[in-house]
């Protein structure tokens, strides 16, 4: 088991410590900022202006003019300076390109992971450091803990239902060393109550699975406009390679999808595989949907040194998935094979599989194969 960690020691001189808080206009980042102000830090609010499609410039959900106005208002209430950083070009170069390329390759990419690693915890962190800050804080529900061997560990938030360590598993030690997550110790209910006490607006931004740069949430239309070559109709086959129908383009389908296939059969059929080489969709019964074994690449062991021996872990295969017990087998090339005790459903290539042991987020990577 991974060694338990000591209490994370923050600077003992907050008045000499400058923290940039990434404000979103929502209640979480507002309370995060308020807590830091209360603790006596010199706090600066920042918000990034992210990319949107032409004609949708004001519709990126992460930075609509309305969200900006709310963030400004929060900064005004707290009496902290607030700056808007233009990240449109950088965001497109990193996150949007990754999204388009992923779908073009038949994957279901998770651009939020790339956004966290490249945009929030690199681009924005660099800006914060250039502004003289010592730390970058966000309203994420997660905790950073310093272990006995001086390593920074990423821990789950106290509020397990709000825990966001899944999307933060991509961070490096250097990034974790500069990260503050003031909400990690609190529940959402407490955060709302604190917002009221601080006199902050308590309205939440609508939480949605949609990606911020898809103004209306229509990723299919977005792919059709931005990567039309990825949209080629092809065959829908069953696991015995019998053709059952036609699909409109691989990017329009997700593993585990049942509706919208246009098939009629006695048993419900689900997308079990997307075959990019043959441009076909393979469907199967619910029994055929589960996977016992995943190959996961681009592993980032956020809290521990890369293991050499197999280890037991609870694994999340999506942000909102339940953890499932598995044995993790490290491979020579740095990838891992995850063997689940029971078959797991909804495994999607391109999404992250993230390993936990209790409260500790060990690390994770991108699912590249399953069986």
């Amino acid at each position: 088991m991974v060694e338990p960690a000591a209490v994370y020691t923050q600077s003992t001189r907050p008045e000499r410590t400058c923290v940039v808080v990434a404000l979103s206009g929502g209640v979480d980042s507002a309370v995060a900022a308020a807590l830091l102000v209360q603790q006596g830090y010199r706090v600066i609010g920042m918000m990034m202006r992210l990319w949107s499609e032409t004609g949708q410039e004001d519709n990126n959900r992460c930075c609509t003019p309305e969200a900006m106005a709310k963030a400004r208002r929060v900064a005004g209430i707290l009496g902290i300076p607030f700056y808007t950083i233009d990240a449109q070009e950088f965001f497109h170069k990193t996150v949007v390109s990754y999204f388009i390329e992923g779908y073009s390759a038949g994957l279901t990419p998770n651009p939020c992971l790339v956004c966290n690693r490249e945009v929030r915890w690199d681009f924005l962190l660099n800006h914060a450091l250039s502004f003289g800050a010592d730390y970058l804080a966000t309203g994420h529900y997660a905790r950073v803990v310093r272990s006995h061997n001086e390593r920074f560990q990423l821990h789950r938030a106290v509020d397990k239902r709000k825990d966001q360590s899944y999307v933060l598993h991509v961070l490096s030690q250097e990034q974790l060393a500069r990260a503050l997550f003031p909400l990690g110790e609190f529940t959402k209910v407490q955060v709302r109550e604190m917002a009221r006490q601080f006199g902050l607006p308590v309205a939440d931004r609508p939480e949605s699975q949609d990606l911020c740069f898809l103004g209306n949430g229509d990723y299919r239309g977005f792919i059709a406009r931005n990567a039309p070559e990825a949209i080629r109709p092809g065959a829908i086959v069953n696991t015995q390679s019998e053709v059952l129908g036609t699909h409109q383009g691989l990017a329009f389908y997700t593993i585990g999808q049942r509706k919208g296939l246009g098939l009629s059969s006695l048993e419900p059929l689900y997308v079990v595989e997307k075959d990019v080489e043959r441009n076909t969709i393979v469907v199967g019964t619910i029994a055929e949907l589960g996977s016992r074994e995943l190959t996961v690449e681009q592993m980032n062991w956020v809290s521990i040194d890369p293991p050499r021996e197999p280890l037991r872990s609870e694994v999340k295969i999506r942000y909102r998935a339940e953890e499932a017990p598995a044995t993790i087998h490290p491979q020579k090339d740095g990838s891992v094979v995850m063997c689940f005790d029971e078959p797991v459903r909804g495994v999607t290539r391109g999404q992250a599989a993230v390993c936990f042991q209790g409260d500790i987020c060990l690390g994770g990577g991108i699912i590249t194969a399953s069986k």
Binding site: R42, V43, I44, R49, M68, G79, I80, P81, Y83, T84, I85, D86, Q88, F123, N126, H127, S130, F131, G132
Partner: protein, 390 residues
Amino acid sequence: MRNNERYIYLDYAATTPVDPRVREAMIPFFSEHFGNPSSVHRYGQKAEAALEDSRERVAAVLGCSRGEVIFTSCGSESDNLALRGVAFARRHRDHTNHILITPVEHHAVSRTAASLATLHGFEVETLEVDEYGKVAASDVAERIRPETALVSVIYANNEIGTVNPLAEIGKLCRERGIPFHTDAVQAAGYLPVDVERLHVDLMSIGAHKFYGPKGVGALYVRRNTPITAVHTGGGQEFGLRAGTHNIPYIVGMAEALELAQQARNEENERLETLRDRLIQAVLNSIPDSRLTGHPTERLPNHASFVFRGIDGNTLLMMLDAAGFACSSGSACKTGNPEPSEVLLAMGIPPEWALGSLRVTLGRSTTLSDIENLLGVLPRIVEECRQLALN
């Protein structure tokens, strides 16, 4: 400012604090002498007396008669009244359809002219400027035509501080009988505003640029200049600007204009010394830096630069975080980087124009403020360059 031990304001071209003497002069007219100057009774008479006293005082500074001073709500409104009012009146009376402006106008002039072109069919022609953003009278002489309705040339530009040769241009407009307007909003606190010497027919000013309150301005309109109201209603301001007079603010502007013009010579000399120290030190200590605007024919409190390969907005935010309130020259808080039209018109390449910085000094600026700024600016510009590279 809770987050900063010291915080230095260096954006006096954006706005100035109200002079305490101005504030004192205004206070009786909020709750004590609150009457409407259009009323017959003594409350109204008291207010009217203050209004007309203010008008006399402003007229005295401008060297004009009281009937030539129109009070408005701000410099932008004065510009709108001048352009729209004269353009419509000239078209109505003389069938003239051509408007001549410069590429270094404030948006209050350039966008008003653009609106006159798109919505009302006026032909708007833009003069040229030299590398300092300065207009040449000879260019005006070449482009002015019998059908020119109005010429408008900014007195001193807000972004680059360059002062234009108004008197020369004014003379040649006068010879041709064509109304000549100037936006003197930036200039009025620092430069001579004698309308006879400047040969202007219309001149816009706004009080908050010279330690008066925000929300009040004036337009000088030479007698017999063709002009029509754009804001109609109850006949105030000789029928040119309807709306109940804002007496405390008008009183405040008159007081502020007098004080600024009285202190002008001495204060300008002090500011010029600080300005020149700043300009010389910035150009010496920061690689790939340039002064924008004219080296000598510029506002005494105004220094403006471009730095190659940086984002001006980021520079401003970093300066603010370090305790210095400056500007890029044109306000933009949305974080969408666009090079300034004024800088592009002067032939400054976009990779320089994006990195603009305007430092404008005022009454409370000291040499140590300038030295403090110079202590951090080279490092901050360098940080900005590094960020832009990534």
